[in-house]
Amino acid sequence: MEKNKSWVKGFLVILWLLGGPVGAGFLAGETDKQEREVMEKYLKKARVVQIIKGAAGGRTAPWIVKLSDGRLKQQAIFKFINRPRPTMLPDSYRYEVAAYRLSKLLGLGFVPAMVERTIEGRPGSLQLMITGTMTEDYRANQGLEPPDKQAFEQALAEILIFENLVYDQCLDGTDILIQKTSWRVWRIDFSEAFTPVEELLPDCPIRRCSRSLYDSLKKLDEASVKSALGSYLSQAELAALLKRKQLVVKKIEELIAEQGEEAIIFLKK
């Protein structure tokens, strides 16, 4: 029985990694949480087979870590830079972890699975590396049209709300990855997020929201946020996050009042 269970879990992981239409559809359902837990366990326990330093690029110069648990081999991104606020150039793997935890609280599946782990004596965030992707910048530059435009726009609408919530860059084309086979959309890189400002992003207007995200936002309370993110964010960062949550909900309510619920709230495809 136990063996059977682990086989199922392994299958789920493979589906997720493939990111194909089947995997994406499967994840969008109720089992999302379970698959994330499986992947988090893998990221925590899998043996580090190889570390590639300096190849990933980017300002935080993360390491590419090759992992194996004997059955499944995967690559992950390890970020270790830790300059939390107050500092002149804040950038920390702890904001990555906080963003991932918040995405879980809201039931969002576009932040790849992540855990905190110490590698070569350095604490950091270890995030599943999604392969077979293109950046949104690349897609736009190549003029590639998504096969399901509506689903793609819905995914970007949810990302935009999340970016307002965590106060990170608005639809940055290099931080949005698109799975080439399934057109599943991912959002990475939150290491500079959670600026303690009690306002929404300038020039990043919220236009639409999924029913599930809207409901999750309304339910999101101070206690659950503090419990999940309290050890990663300062009091000021937490307070600002909660204020922005209120502003996001208020904005959606205003839009609904102006344009009607059908124009604003959508059921995810």
Binding site: R59, M88, L89, D91, N141
Partner: protein, 351 residues
């Protein structure tokens, strides 16, 4: 008593005035007088990221006949553009800076120019964040920018520790990572001795109809005046220096260039992206800059022929060839003679 009070007050006032003047009188040229545009230049030699490789830099300078055997400027009115990123990964950035300092004066006296641009690694050492990365600041570089007395004292301390079986190199690496006093000494001394001089340099320059910048210019930044970009970067880096050197209290400063991935020191899209839409953007960028081509560095690539530097049919040239042995040691320079591009290079058997 009254006399003593007045005397003391006078001394304090004098001291305050003196400090105020020190703050007001710049050590070098005022920012607005630092030129960044030249025309009617016939020969330009462009050298990419050096990353602490003094020997390879000297080989390029000699190979392109910019200097004589004594490393004195020998190229008259030629312009040398070094694209930034002298620091990190290799050992000898300080020696390169010292040589560039000398050549800047000699070239200017001969009617030429040595223009060293600011790269993201210069930014990272001025701000201090380079020390957060284990393989950026090498032990040799760290030691070279420490104050002499501190370095000697630390060396003796580590030699004693190394007798217990740990390598001196390893101990110095630990100092770079965790010894806050040593890190602070490095930053303060670096900024005092070289940081202010670095702030006399530009991030972006224009020579004839060519624009040179370490990372690249996005469409957004192409709408800025070059002078504005350079001035803004100096202001932002200057804010760090004030905190480090004067102990100024940091008031939240909105950075527009420093550490920004789309800023001129880090923007990679011109080097990494292709496609029609990007080419349209490149055309807009060049039109905004009123330039024929952009010369960028920052993104290393294997260059075996002139074609390998060319992007978008020569609208963009990428000159980071991995000169430093930390990147393979590929000795290359882009030569621009009366608008004609050619490649100088030494192969050393590398393919």
């Amino acid at each position: 008593m009254a006399f003593r009070f007045r005397k003391k007050t006078g001394e304090i006032l004098f001291l305050w005035l003196w400090l105020l003047l020190l703050g007001l009188i710049p050590a070098h040229l005022p920012a607005e007088e630092i030129p960044c545009v030249w025309s009617e230049v016939s020969r330009i030699v462009v050298v990419g990221d050096l990353h602490g490789d003094y020997e390879n830099f000297v080989r390029i300078l000699k190979g392109t006949r910019l200097v004589d055997s004594e490393l004195n400027w020998a190229a008259g009115q030629v312009f040398l553009v070094q694209m930034g990123d002298v620091l990190d990964r290799g050992p000898d950035a300080r020696k390169i800076f010292d040589l560039i300092k000398k050549l800047e004066k000699q070239a200017a006296a001969a009617g030429g120019q040595v223009q060293m641009l600011l790269g993201n690694h210069e930014e990272m050492n001025i701000t201090g964040i380079s020390l957060d990365y284990e393989d950026y600041v090498t032990v040799e570089q760290f030691q070279s920018f420490l104050p002499d007395d501190f370095r000697q004292r630390k060396q003796k301390e580590l030699e004693r520790k190394s007798r217990r079986g740990r390598s001196l190199e390893r101990l110095w690496k630990e100092v770079i990572q965790i010894d806050m006093e040593a890190r602070n000494k490095y930053l303060v001394n670096f900024n005092q001795k070289y940081g202010k001089w670095l702030l006399q340099h530009n991030a972006v320059i224009k020579i004839n109809d060519l624009v040179f910048v370490h990372g690249g210019l996005s469409e957004e930044f192409s709408r800025w005046k070059l002078e504005e970009i350079n001035k803004r970067l100096r202001q932002e880096l200057g804010a760090f220096q004030k905190v480090l050197l004067n102990g100024s209290v940091y008031n939240s400063f909105k950075f527009e260039i420093v550490y920004k991935s789309n800023g001129p020191l880090r923007y990679r899209q011109l080097a990494l992206t292709d496609g029609n839409l990007m080419e349209n953007q490149v055309d807009t960028i060049l039109a905004n800059l009123e330039a024929r081509s952009l010369i960028v560095s920052h993104t290393p690539r294997l260059v075996l022929s002139l074609e390998d530097m060319k992007h978008f049919g020569g609208k963009v040239w990428i000159v980071d060839t991995g000169i430093s042995r930390a990147y393979g040691g590929y000795l290359r320079a882009l030569i621009i003679n009366d608008g004609q591009f050619s490649l100088w290079g030494v192969d050393d058997g590398k393919k």
